[in-house]
Amino acid sequence: MRLILIFTLMLSSLLAQSKANDVKTFTLKNGMQIILLEDHSIPNVAMYLFYKVGSRNEYPGITGISHFFEHMMFNGAKKYGPKQFDITMEANGGANNAYTSNDITVYSNWFPRSAMELIFDLEADRIAHLNFDDKMIESERGVILSERSTMLENSNESYLMQEVFAAAFQAHPYGWPVIGWESDIKNWTKNDLQNYFKTYYSPNNCVVVLTGDLTLDEVKKLSKKYFEPIPWRSAPRKVHTVEPEQLGERRLFVKKEVSTPHVLAVYHVPEASSTDYYSLRLLNSILSSGNTSRLYSSLVDEKQLATEVWTHYGESFDPYVFMIYSICNENVTPSQIEDVVYEELDKIANEGINENELQKVKNQKLIEFYHVMETINGKANQIGTYQLFFGDYKKLFDAPGEYQEVTAEDIKNVVKKYFNKLNRTVGILRAEGETK
């Protein structure tokens, strides 16, 4: 009872500090949606542009082009030519970055408020008039090949994930890596890029989020001046491919020079807008968040079978996978790890979880929410993420309540529903490969 009281207290103080109503939004005539939140704690602004395009919009032959495109967005338009986007922004105190996922491509700018009009001008120029300079395409191709190679050189996790995803998804584009296959990276053409631009980089396929030292009036004025004249284009075709139900365990091996084996097991689970989303997110915390989580305490602490374990379930447009990743301790075989992982999942399916454990992960989610709300950057990224994946940024503010609604029975049910052997793909990475 006391636990619930604490939670209610925390929730009310949260609401006092940040409300969904403080967020303003309007849509321009060309369909571009602008969302903003004033926060005057520092004299800076964060601007995020979310495009609804990612590697799920690709097809064999152009895998990785969404990410390549992300890089090309910095390589010159009409008013600001090659290199000028970054040179101009940095000379005015701004910095930028971008990321591409399976589902979306996100561009972020962080700048002092004095640079706001300039940033609108820079963004409008590249959305309306991106240009593809042959020389820039070639040097950027080298950059991407280096990005891919350094990822595989330094991250065994990336290596194994790439192989496991290719096996888990046979029809859906989530099966190829966001960075793309090497031969595709080497063979994209300028024409592919131009088509991609026309198809996906229209203002109506973009949501812009601004947070920080700004006002609604100035954002309205600048959006109308710079973004509204960019012509609307017809919406891209929908991704219609549905991954067929998996009807049997898939297993694979990867040979790589590692000191101890890595094991990744993935299960097909539904997308972010599903009713099971919040239960699966809490399950993710129950399994691996902190030293008292089920898999850490069992695999790493008590049995000392693994040096590391993590699990992941995030936002996606289409049904995705829940990942369980472990690295073996010395002289431990992958099957020993697998046995414990499946045992722990079965335990939840059969016995459920206790209330204290459930309350723990709910409390963790609330504190995570506070941490997001601490920075203008965190607010901008989360507001956009909720708008895209849940259809409404207001749901960000409902999230603590949504987590609160999840019951122990819900957690038990999602484990029963999704975590069965037929629905599983397991990959093992080890120095000996498959032979041993």
Partner: protein, 461 residues
């Protein structure tokens, strides 16, 4: 009770709140010294209902002796149990409330950081205190962590990026304590016992030179009482480091190359550098401006040449690592094995530009604007502010670093910029650490200096 306690405290300074439009200022805070010598910083921040606390204990890997990894293992083991709480109780309590507690170890100090919701402070602050004042280092838990660390040391070498700085430090500082790898090596870690940790703790954990910063949604006068109640009992007389650490010279008289062979490498990962600066260098801010131009932003000279113009790498940076009385500098990047020579030559050419062509008005103006514009977000959260306050205490710089930051930058002339470029950025007798496939790159890299070779699989760095 709290009000009485204040008599035991020497009040040093209370800064008043002043915020100038357009000029970022450090929020007001209070600094007090407890009777036992512990320095406490208190700062109110009310944006979210959280509290952050950070303790800095000035003992680091430079005090490891020949048991490299001792400081690191001690810092990790602080969380394994205390006089009043078992490991399980510590973890269950912090995790139940969604709070965090972590330790970190570096060359010069250990930090213990925690954050939690305001409502949970009465339960969590006493545990935080016990972790610092009364850790017990239980044998079984230490043994478990040590075993895992031994495996992790091998795993780390599967990623050149994870280990290249340990090689670089060892190569630069050779046998000096600053070359000690923080996480140790397999040979040394295997020798560390629970008793070693207890001895290390009782030798070096001293309130006198330590500091605690607490920032968040509280009232300073209440929190001052709580913190002094909790930490006044920390008394450890005559426990100061016994062996003063000699500050080594980093003035090299020849170029040297360390080539670390990793047989399955597809790319070459390298650092090029030498002597850097100490954190309390009076030109610290101006040096950051020049480093921004060289290699600390997207349009930096290094990134423009190695990434934008040539596509040789995904990323390149130049970095100063400042310690209290010394520091290192390096350029850091990676490239496909076949491009090793091209990338190193280009990096050297760019570094040389600082010493030859020098800096122009235009690029200086741009860098000044960039560094000022990006400054406030660095100190936006309470988590960043606790670390700033304990860093200020340890390194001996003060609020003027924040409050005069813009002014110092505005006043920086082109003459000063070029003077700094020549004075603080190494130009001659550079030191190279290169990890890659030796059979493919040895002939290329030996031209850069006197070569030493190692296998990445060999123990240590």
């Amino acid at each position: 009770m709290n009000k009485l306690r204040i008599n035991l405290i020497t009040l040093i300074i209370i800064l008043s709140a002043t915020s100038f439009a357009g000029n970022f200022k450090l929020p007001p805070y209070e600094k007090v010294k407890l009777d036992n010598g512990l320095t406490v910083y208190l700062m109110e921040q009310h944006e979210v209902p959280l509290i952050y606390v950070s303790a800095l204990i000035p003992c680091g890997a430079i005090y490891d002796g020949n048991k490299n990894g001792l400081t690191f293992l001690t810092s990790e083991s602080l969380l394994f149990g205390t006089k009043n709480f078992t490991k399980k109780q510590i973890e269950e309590t912090f995790e139940f409330y969604g709070a965090s507690i972590s330790t970190s170890a570096g060359a010069e100090f250990i930090k213990v950081n925690a954050s939690f919701a305001i409502h949970d402070q009465e339960k969590l602050l006493p545990i935080f205190q016990d972790i610092i004042l009364h850790p017990t280092f239980p044998e079984d838990e230490v043994q478990k962590r040590r075993q895992r660390l031994l495996v992790e040391l091998d795993q780390a070498k599967e990623s050149p990026r994870q280990v290249i700085r340990a090689y670089f430090n060892k190569f630069l500082f050779t046998d000096n304590e600053f070359g000690n790898p923080v996480q140790g090596s397999k040979g040394t870690v295997a020798e560390i016992s629970s008793d070693d940790l207890k001895n290390y703790y009782s030798s070096y954990f001293n309130p006198k030179n330590s500091s605690i910063a607490i920032v968040g949604d509280f009232n300073i006068s209440e929190m001052r009482g709580k913190i002094s109640d909790l930490f006044n009992s920390w008394n450890m007389e005559n426990r100061t480091p016994t062996n003063p650490i000699l500050i080594p010279s980093l003035d090299f008289n020849k170029k040297r190359v360390l080539l670390v062979n990793k047989n399955d490498s597809q790319e070459t990962t390298f650092l090029i550098g030498g002597k850097g600066i100490s954190r309390n260098n009076t030109d610290f801010t101006e040096i950051q401006v020049i480093n921004t131009i060289l290699g600390d932003r997207f349009t930096s000279w290094l990134n423009e040449e190695l990434r934008i113009n040539s596509g040789l790498t995904y990323g390149v940076r130049s970095v100063f690592v400042p310690y209290k009385n010394i520091g290192t500098f390096f350029i850091s990047t990676f490239t496909g094995s076949e491009n090793t020579e091209k990338a190193i030559d280009l990096a050297l050419q760019v570094l040389n530009r600082l010493h030859t062509t020098g800096i122009t008005d235009k690029v200086l103006l741009s860098a000044k604007s960039y560094i000022k514009g990006q400054f406030p977000p660095n100190y936006e959260t309470s988590g960043a502010l606790v670390n700033l306050l304990t860093d200020m205490d340890y390194y001996g710089f003060d609020d003027t670093y924040i409050n005069n930051f813009e002014k110092k930058i505005d006043e920086m002339t082109i003459a000063k910029a070029n003077e700094i470029a020549k004075k603080y950025f190494p130009g001659d007798n550079l030191q190279f650490v290169i990890i890659g496939k030796a059979s493919e790159i040895k002939d290329v890299v030996k031209k850069y200096g006197e070569i030493t070779e190692k296998e990445i699989t060999a123990d240590g760095f």
